[in-house]
């Protein structure tokens, strides 16, 4: 019995101890899992759960035929993590790889600082000599050693194939602590075409829908800026868990929001035509070495801009060069091209018609206040058509006087001068138009011949389009549509918009006929003529304003020509504005719109006519065109 009692007592105490221990364990478990639950979850989450930004792609820009003009490209930046680089184990393994020793031997032979220094040298040597990173291995080593940042950016813009090569290289040579981080680059396949229209982006910090901040391309100029909202994508994110080696455990993926790529923007520009126009513009720039030269080509019936270019311009990928879109941002005194306003207004008001005869005072007309208005050549009686064809200042002024200053000023406004056209591009200026109340004694005659008024090349093109299409001022537009990112579906189509009727169809028709006389053998722009087509247009030559001292700079001119064809049923309207051309050695005529800008226009027009397959509207004397219109069986 005694022994049994002892056993029972011992069993009891053993149970008490076991129960006590388990109770303590249970209490600890309750403490960890219940009382400290949130704290530990947070700690574990910090170690294992990561939020990964899923970058979106900015929308592409394509021309009217779908040719790619701008696209986001995934590239990488090479980043060295200072903490990892200075990890003794990583460094020792790297030095072992470099020296051919074992890690243990490295540890025995070198002290800690020597190993770290040796590893940085090895990383710099491999990355520079075999990967082409940095200017020299020494410079790279210096960067790795002296940078106080944890993450040291070694190179940006590494393309996918180079990343794979570098990754293989780093793996082969035991480089650890250097990583690739994805980033995006705006890529322009044709960096020297359509530069001012496309514009450019900057890499800015942008707030994301979830409140985080991420780097993204933000449009700063051109279509990139005006269509920024449509083209900007929305980054996504996802939470994921990592294992103890830092690799993602795909099985434990958490919340995920997919990135939304930006929309694709389709332009009205035709890149085939744009290329032809820009080549002709470059030839013109090379011949006349102007300060600036611009051209705009437009469909007069829809307001669609088919081409727009300036020289100088800039490289879309390097951004070096002139970024100002002269065609819409610079104003100039248009000279005689502006005569379409008083003459168009007077025809519309039925004050004159094409046969109305205007006496032009043999080149010198004295106003009652003693003001002298001169023509370049002495003319007596000229019909309205010849006033236009000969570009008579006196004739234009006398016609403007029939309208009177107020009505004339109204027509200036009707044609769209003094206001922005509203094209979807940045930096457009209104031009300068003064109200008659603010005119001086010379202003009326000056404005009637295109002085004391400033316009943009785009405004002039739009105004001429109104004559070409039968009197409607169209809103010029460069955006055709906004599409889904893959271009499969059109989300928003930019509609053709008539701003106002400027002239009746009959008045526009008369003016159109007068403008064809300008390009005839006796007109001021016979060099704008092209084989097979009747071209209508107007020349303009104005002295350059001295922006510092006022007045005009002797010997400096802005020469322009604007025209459309085929004259009876115009398909395209174009303008060429040459600012301050130099006279080439073989040039035996004065620098006028008809001698400088008109031939450049003709060169462009001939190419455009063939490219757009515009049917000729005239009999041609050149036998090479005789087969035009022939149908053959195949």
């Amino acid at each position: 019995m005694e022994a049994e009692a002892i056993i029972q007592r011992r069993t009891f105490w053993a149970c008490v101890i076991v129960v006590g221990l388990f109770s303590l364990l249970s209490a600890r478990l309750i403490d960890l899992h219940v009382l400290q639950h949130d704290e530990h979850v947070e700690t574990a989450t910090k170690f294992h759960v990561r939020k990964q930004q899923l970058p979106s792609q900015r929308g592409a820009i394509v021309d009217r035929n779908g040719e790619l003009l701008a696209h986001d490209q995934r590239v990488f930046r090479l980043v060295a993590n200072k903490i990892h680089l200075r990890n003794h184990n990583i460094a020792a393994r790297g030095v072992a790889e470099a020296t051919g020793m074992t890690t243990a031997e490295v540890r025995r032979q070198f002290d800690r600082d020597e190993i770290l220094d040796g590893y940085e040298r090895w990383v710099a040597l491999v990355l520079h000599q075999k990967g082409g990173i940095g200017e020299s291995a020494a410079e790279l080593k210096e960067k790795l050693s002296t940078s106080e940042r944890v993450e040291i950016r070694l190179q940006r813009g590494i393309e996918e194939d180079n990343r794979q090569l570098l990754a293989g290289l780093m793996e082969k040579h035991g480089i650890r602590g250097v990583y690739f981080e994805p980033e995006s680059r705006r890529f322009y396949p044709s960096p020297n075409r359509l530069t001012h229209v496309l514009g450019y982006t900057n890499l800015d910090e942008v707030k994301q829908p979830d409140g985080s901040v991420a780097e993204a391309h933000v449009g700063k100029e051109g279509v990139e800026a005006t269509m920024n909202e449509a083209m900007a994508g929305k980054d996504g994110f996802r939470f994921y868990e990592r294992d103890n080696r830092g690799r993602e455990i795909a099985a434990f993926r958490g919340e995920q929001v997919a990135p939304v790529n930006g929309k694709r923007v389709r332009l009205t520009i035709d890149m085939g035509m744009q290329n032809l126009v820009e080549k002709a513009l470059e030839r013109g720039a090379a011949r006349f070495k102007p300060e600036k030269i611009s051209t705009v080509w437009m469909d007069p019936w829809t307001g669609e801009i088919l081409s727009m270019a300036n020289r100088p311009h800039f490289d879309l990928n390097t951004r070096e060069g002139e970024r100002r879109n002269v065609a819409i941002a610079d104003q100039y005194e248009p000279g005689s091209t502006f005569k379409i306003v008083p003459i168009g207004g007077a025809i519309e008001e039925r004050l004159i018609n094409l046969n109305t005869v205007v006496f032009c005072h043999w080149g010198e007309f004295y106003e009652s206040n003693g003001l002298l208005i001169k023509d370049h050549h002495p003319y007596g009686d000229l019909t309205t058509e010849l006033v236009v064809a000969k570009s008579s200042n006196i004739g234009s002024y006398k016609i403007a006087k029939l309208l009177g200053p107020i009505r004339f000023h109204q027509y200036v406004g009707y044609f769209g001068f003094g206001e922005k056209t509203g094209i979807q591009l940045t930096g457009e200026t209104t031009g300068t138009v003064h109200h008659p109340e603010n005119w001086s004694g010379t202003s009326f005659s000056a404005v009637s011949k295109g002085y004391e008024v400033a316009v943009t090349p785009l405004q002039m093109t739009t105004a001429l389009s109104a004559i070409a299409n039968g009197g409607l001022l169209m809103q010029p537009r460069v955006i055709d549509s906004i599409e889904t990112a893959d271009g499969e579906e059109v989300l928003e189509k930019t509609d053709t918009r008539v701003v106002r009727r400027v002239l009746s169809s009959a008045a526009a028709d008369q003016l159109r006929r007068a403008l064809t006389a300008v390009v005839a053998e006796t007109g001021t722009a016979k060099r704008a003529a092209i084989e097979g087509y009747q071209v209508a247009g107007k020349t303009g030559t104005s002295q350059k304003v001295d922006p510092e001292n006022g007045g005009y700079i002797p010997g400096k001119y802005v020469c322009s020509f604007m025209g459309f064809f085929p004259a009876e049923n115009p398909r395209v309207v174009g303008i060429v504005v040459v600012d301050d051309p130099e006279k080439p050695a073989d040039f035996d005529t004065p620098l006028y719109g008809g001698t400088v800008a008109a031939p450049i226009f003709a060169e462009m027009a001939a190419e455009v006519a063939a490219y757009l397959e515009i049917p000729p509207d005239q009999e041609t004397r050149d036998p090479k065109f005789e087969t035009r219109g022939l149908n053959i069986d195949t």
Binding site: L68, H71, Q73, R74, E159, E160, D161, Q164, F187, P189, S190, P191, N192, R193, R247, E248, I249, A250, A251, N275, L276, E531, A606, E607, A609, A610, Y611, E613, K624, F625, T627, R628, L630, N631, I632, D633, T634
Partner: protein, 112 residues
């Protein structure tokens, strides 16, 4: 030798049941571990495949952009010039497209 004065209460049947239960529990545990490992292996495979797809997409896109850059008209002309090509630029004005009278026929480009 003193003979035990009590008999083992654990019968063979009960023992067998416990052993069976143990085997089932062990089996379930092993199966769980096996499935879990498979799951992680599959997840690893999925992750690798996803990374590969992303890389391939990026690579395809890179080549598409390079092709687009190679097709840049001024660049093409520049390369032809650099390589001393004897090809002459044909002005658009010298070309004529002769439309086929048959809607199924092909248009013919004629160099004048």
């Amino acid at each position: 030798m003193k003979k035990r004065d009590y008999q083992n209460q654990l019968g063979l049947g009960v023992l067998a049941k416990w052993l069976l239960l143990l085997a089932v529990v062990c089996g379930i545990a092993s199966a769980y571990v096996h499935v879990r490992n498979l799951h992680i292996q599959e997840s690893d495979f999925v992750r690798t495949a996803e990374e590969k797809m992303t890389d391939l997409r990026a690579e395809i896109e890179m080549y598409e952009l390079r092709i687009a850059a190679l097709l840049d008209r001024p660049a093409l002309e520049g390369r032809l010039e650099e390589n001393g090509s004897e090809l002459q630029a044909i002005e658009h004005a010298s070309l004529e497209v002769v439309k086929s009278s048959d809607s199924t026929g092909t248009d013919v480009i004629v160099l004048q």
